[in-house]
Amino acid sequence: MRYLDQQAIEYIAVGAAFLGTGGGGDPYIGKLMALSAIEKNGPVKLYSVDEIEDEDFFIPSAMMGAPSVLVEKFPKGDEFVKVFQKLAKYLGREKISGTFPMEAGGVNSMIPIVVAAQLNLPLIDCDGMGRAFPELQMVTFNLDGISAAPIAITDEKGNIGIFETIDNKWTERLARTATVEMGASALVSLYSTTGAQIKKSGVHHIVTLSEQIGEIISAKNRDAKDKLEQLLSLTSGYELFQGKITDVIRETKGGFNFGKMNLEGIEMSKDEQMKVYFQNENLLAEKNGQVVAMTPDLICLVDYETLLPVTTESLKYGKRVRVIGLPAHPKWRTEMGIKTVGPRYFGYDYDYAPIEKLISKAVASHV
């Protein structure tokens, strides 16, 4: 057990936005909420997964909806606690032993910190993705057959809904509709789990990893190259490309941002091209027409010089970035994982291949 203070929160916000692979929202507003919650209630306890009891009960907390709405209409502050307690009551659980994030992302890494601070509950060092994904069933708990329902959903007005659903895709459908009606931004509690389930099905150590990544990126007076080396060795990542965004094409379909960006190589990647496809999160990267990384592996864009994460919404012509690829958590690389979040689920006509293989293939063809 250790405490998360203001500095830790600053780092986690940056690191989680990096792991958010372009999605998960702008960390700024999430960070402000978390900082004002700990200022009021004191630092939050962080438990590692080994420190929790198998039979204890935990409920994650998350925000659902459009990051672009959140920057304008953010929560009142007590909804997190309301929705969390409502679900606990509905489940007939008197004792909830902690909360944890659903995904790594600028906003959803911060919401559970707010809940933990307000309820004086520990935060557990795990999540259900190890990155960000756009839909509720895209969670490692789902792969192991854990139900997202019952789900409690609320807005800042005080409306609360509970859904019991037949499967996790239905949870996504119904919660998505409610979210839009609630003003495109809602708070949810779902995937309630036991300690044993967290140990088996969660992505462990993610809060600490986010914090470490954030600390490296935020280090002042250090060379970008230096910081990057450390970042890649921490995450087993690859620097895929150095480039400048020359075009961004966006299209909104079924409540999501689809799009594609073209990058033109600079420095290390001079005279090369890259295309990155995204649906809120970055999902596929092609270098000179060859796929070099694909979902569920992580494709992270960072500012060329500061290494600060670049969200999909802030993509802009002329921005100089580095494209970094990280291997996904092994749970995503299983047959069920690929079926749930692989390239074909998102409509890309590719069989999944791990980034390590794609890289060594690219290197081989280069020689």
Binding site: Y28, I29, L32, M33, L35, S36, A37, G65, A66, P67, S68, V69, V71, E72, K73, F74, P75, K76, G77, V114, E156, K157, G158, R176, T179, V180, G183, A184, K244, T246, R250, E251, T252, G254, G255, F256, N257, E264, I266, N280, T312, E313, S314, K316, Y317, G318, R320
Partner: protein, 516 residues
Amino acid sequence: MYRIGIDVGGTNTDAIILDEHNQLIHSVKSPTTLDIKTGIVTSLRKVLQEAKVDKTKITHAMLGTTQCTNAIVERKKLAKVGVIRLGFPATASVPPYTAWPQDMVEQLTGNYALVQGGYEYDGQVLGEIDEQEINDLLEKWRDKVETIAVIGVFSSIKNDQELKVRDLIWEAYGENYTVSCSSLIGSVGLIERENATILNSALCHVIEATTTGFANALEAEGIKDVEVYLCQNDGTLMSIEYAKQFPIFTIACGPTNSIRGASYLANIKDTMVIDVGGTTSDIGVLQDGFPRESSVAVEIGDIRTNFRMPDIISVGLGGGSIVRVEGGKITVGPDSVGYKIGEEALVFGGNTMTATDIAVRLGLADVGDKSLVSHIDEGFAKQVQSVISSIIANAIDKMKTSSGDVQIVLVGGGNVIIPAEIPGVADIVKVENGGVANAIGASISQISGQYEQIYIYSRQPREESLKDAEEKAVKQAVIAGAEPTTIKLVEVEEIPLAYHPENATRLRVKVVGKMS
């Protein structure tokens, strides 16, 4: 018919007179003074005395000034602001002034209220405003605050609540009371827009003193019945009345004026401009004669805002940049001898090797005594020049949006240090009278209007939405003093919203017209 343009820079206050064909009649420089005002008066008096034009034929006077920026950075002369945020209970988790520097909050007194109101992302009502609640608050704040900032959730979609609150304030405090409505200042992003609106409010005394001071200075010089304008940071002008409502838009007008003036002098509307000063070089991109807008949140005086700012980068390279050799590696800048170049540079008998000394050694410039740099090895000088070239090339590359070579327009007192060959640059245009490009930029500015809203294209087709936004932007431009027949559309930005089932798009348009 003449126009006077004045630009207050960090070092000099420039004044120029142009005729009706925008031909430069005369220009002067005088040092910028601590109070700014004295420098303006001095330059104005000097340019009028030296140019000897008929004062009755002066029709327009434009001022580009840093007073508002300075007030924020130095935390001086700021007003006591009351902040009213419409949206409660939403947004209460992050109250106004969160993450502000404490000294700034103290200056502004930190008064705020979260009240009912606001809209949803699709324009539905989030909460109705409660007039009684507002009136009670105004009673409580009477004599406690000097100006009020009103910020509504999603007011960029619908701002009638903000305007209604403004009316209530005027009813309570009188119509001369200054009220800043966020929908007229910033874009989507409540905290950043709120911060910009608060700063705008805080500047109400500063802008009053600035505009009155300028008008008085003109009158004291016998210039009467002129149209007086202030420069905005997007390369357009605002009338005195408009400036009093939106002082924050004067921030960063200097670099904008400079790159616009340069493009005007070079007669090129789409280009990249490099303004080389003594310590830094500013690089900006002009599209159809206007600076590209920055897309990132901008910090002013350590406060995060999102109102429009020109996309201009600054690199630590100028005429006074110090040249060093450290461990066999040549560096140029980022530190500079600055305004002491006349004493410290080698060519002026000093002891510090500067970028200007290298230019003189290579015969690119003829200032000072060139015999004082003849001892510098030519090969070494060329190496220094290639370091300068790569600093500039790198900065230019950051501003480019395509890989092709660009044309650059070069201005500013330090421009002699820039080599003729730079990677990624097709050709370099040097302009005459480049030294007063900023004052010229101030004088040739036009008048703009801008409008931003989230439209749902499945309910209001794109063409119709664009037309609606353009009409609203034109209205803004006319209020700011543009001649309606000359107004044209210069910019359209569309950003689709994530997770929205219909085609919701944030649309922003900008129009520009000539002064009426």
